[in-house]
């Protein structure tokens, strides 16, 4: 599958520079879009209320968000709508979040990944992934929304 994020090239104007013609309002609006609405986020957590609440938090920030309780469903959905960001729990049935992140990254190399976990076993999984060249940022559960949003902003600004 070819992964082509469709919304994150909106600053490309060629030689045209908006600020030079005084379009600050337009720039502000596009900055707003850059923060959320033009980006698709997949949230995956096997605890439904966590998945759906994270979805609400991210939607409130303007992200186009889908939540999943089964990582396999997220993987399938990524075939048709490649996410710009994956926010996923690590320890889950069917597939752990690190495996999911690696598979989605194979299909969508530009996809950012934010893991969250409250379980010690995660460090071993992360270490194993790191040895294979896969490095991910991880947040401790329960994730504070402010911490999550700041981490996401850092990911997109990087």
């Amino acid at each position: 599958m070819t992964c082509t994020p469709r919304c994150n090239e909106r600053y490309e104007f060629g030689e045209f520079n908006l600020s030079s013609v005084g379009c600050n309002a337009v720039i502000e609006e596009w900055d707003q879009m850059r923060k959320g609405l033009n980006r698709t986020v997949f949230v995956v957590d096997d605890e439904p209320v966590i998945a759906s609440t994270l979805e609400l938090i991210l939607m409130s920030q303007g992200f186009a968000t889908r939540s999943f309780v089964d990582p396999l469903d997220a993987l399938e959905a990524a075939q048709s709508v490649p996410p710009h960001l994956l926010v996923t729990d690590v320890v889950m049935p069917n597939m752990n979040g690190i495996e999911l992140a690696i598979l989605i990254r194979e299909r969508c190399p530009e996809c950012k990944v934010m893991l969250s976990s409250g379980q010690i076993v995660t460090s071993e999984l992360l270490e194993a992934a790191g040895l294979q060249g896969h490095h991910f940022e991880i947040l401790a559960k329960p994730v504070h929304p402010k911490v999550l949003l700041e981490a996401i902003e850092r990911l997109f600004d990087a």
């Binding site: 469709r6 919304c7 909106r10 502000e28 609006e29 707003q32 879009m33 923060k35 959320g36 609405l37 033009n38 698709t40 096997d46 605890e47 439904p48 209320v49 966590i50 998945a51 759906s52 609440t53 979805e55 609400l56 938090i57 991210l58 939607m59 409130s60 920030q61 303007g62 992200f63 186009a64 968000t65 889908r66 939540s67 309780v69 709508v81 409250g118 559960k141 329960p142 994730v143 504070h144 929304p145 402010k146």
Partner: protein
Amino acid sequence: MRKNQRTTAQCQAVGDMPDSFVGTSAGLSTASKATGGVMSSDGPGALKFLHTTLSWVEQLERTPDPALDSESVAELKVILIARIAKLESVLLDKNELPT
């Protein structure tokens, strides 16, 4: 919702997103109805997360973010309170409610 958001039609033009993807108030309500049910698989960790999120929302109420409209913050708070009540009931039945 963030102010100055694109309309659904504009969003769809950008990313061909179904309506339910879009971060509008309607979208938020849809998402909460479609996926907001507390399930028996939700545990004490989920309850802690809901309380953490509620604290964050209450903080937003006290010191509003100019980019967020107060209606959406209020709506989010109502959803969170309902979910906390439901999950507490589920955990109580399972004798898993944290003391």
